[in-house]
C-alpha cells in the first residue's frame, strides 16, 4: 500500500463521483418540469462534478505544470458559470418561459406593472 496506490484510489473515487454527478444532471435535465429547475440540475457537472474530476486528474498526473492547467480550468469554470447562468436565467424569465405555479417567490414579478411574471 504505497502512497501511489492511495493517490490512485482517491483519484478513482473522485472520478466516479464526478461522473455520477454528470449522470444526475442528465436525469434532472430530462425529468424536471421547467427551465429554471433544469438549470438547477445543470449546475451539477458544471461546478462540483468538474472540480471533482479535475481533482482526480491532478491526483493521477502529479505534475506541477499539469496541476496549474487544471486549477486554471477550475477557476475559469467557477468564474464563468454564474455569469452564464445569470444570462440564461434572465433570458428565460423575460421570454416568459417560467412556470409561475412552480415559483415560491417572484420578486421580479412584484416590480412589474401588473404584478405578475411574464409566464405563458
Amino acid at each position: 500500500m504505497t502512497l501511489q496506490t492511495v493517490a490512485d484510489v482517491l483519484a478513482g473515487a473522485c472520478l466516479i463521483s464526478g461522473a455520477l454527478l454528470s449522470l444526475a444532471a442528465g436525469v434532472g435535465l430530462l425529468r424536471f418540469p421547467d427551465l429554471l429547475s433544469r438549470m438547477h440540475a445543470a449546475t451539477k457537472p458544471q461546478v462540483l462534478g468538474l472540480l471533482l474530476i479535475l481533482a482526480g486528474t491532478a491526483l493521477r498526473l502529479q505534475n506541477t505544470i499539469d496541476t496549474t492547467t487544471l486549477v486554471l480550468v477550475g477557476i475559469f469554470q467557477l468564474v464563468t458559470a454564474p455569469v452564464a447562468a445569470h444570462m440564461v436565467g434572465r433570458a428565460v424569465y423575460r421570454a416568459g418561459q417560467v412556470r409561475a405555479d412552480l415559483l415560491v417567490v417572484d420578486e421580479l414579478g412584484e416590480d412589474r406593472p401588473n404584478g405578475r411574471s411574464p409566464s405563458r
Binding site: 472520478l15 454528470s22 438549470m39 462534478g49 440564461v88 423575460r94
Partner: protein
C-alpha cells in the same frame, strides 16, 4: 484503474445520452442552450477523465478552450435569443 475507467465512461455515456434526448426534444431554444451547456461540461469531464486514465497531459489544453467556448456560446445565444410574443 481499468474498473474505474469502465465505470466512469459508462456513467458519462449515459449522461450524454440523456442530455442529447433533451437537446432533440427541448421545446425552446433556451432549453437547448442549457442542455448544450451541460453537454459541454460532460465533454470536459470526459476529456479530463481520459487524461487521468492514460496519465497523458496532452489533452489538458483542450479543457481550457472548451470552458471558454461554453461560456461564450451560452452567453451570446442567451443575449440574442428572441423574446416570445404574447
Amino acid at each position: 484503474m481499468i474498473v474505474v475507467g469502465v465505470i466512469v465512461s459508462t456513467l458519462l455515456f449515459a449522461a450524454v445520452s440523456l442530455v442529447l434526448i433533451r437537446i432533440v426534444r427541448g421545446p425552446t431554444t433556451l432549453d437547448r442552450i442549457v442542455a448544450v451547456d451541460v453537454l459541454l461540461a460532460v465533454v470536459v469531464c470526459a476529456v479530463a477523465a481520459e487524461a487521468a486514465y492514460t496519465r497523458d497531459a496532452t489533452s489538458l489544453t483542450i479543457l481550457v478552450v472548451l470552458s471558454i467556448l461554453g461560456f461564450i456560446g451560452s452567453v451570446s445565444v442567451a443575449r440574442f435569443s428572441p423574446r416570445s410574443r404574447r
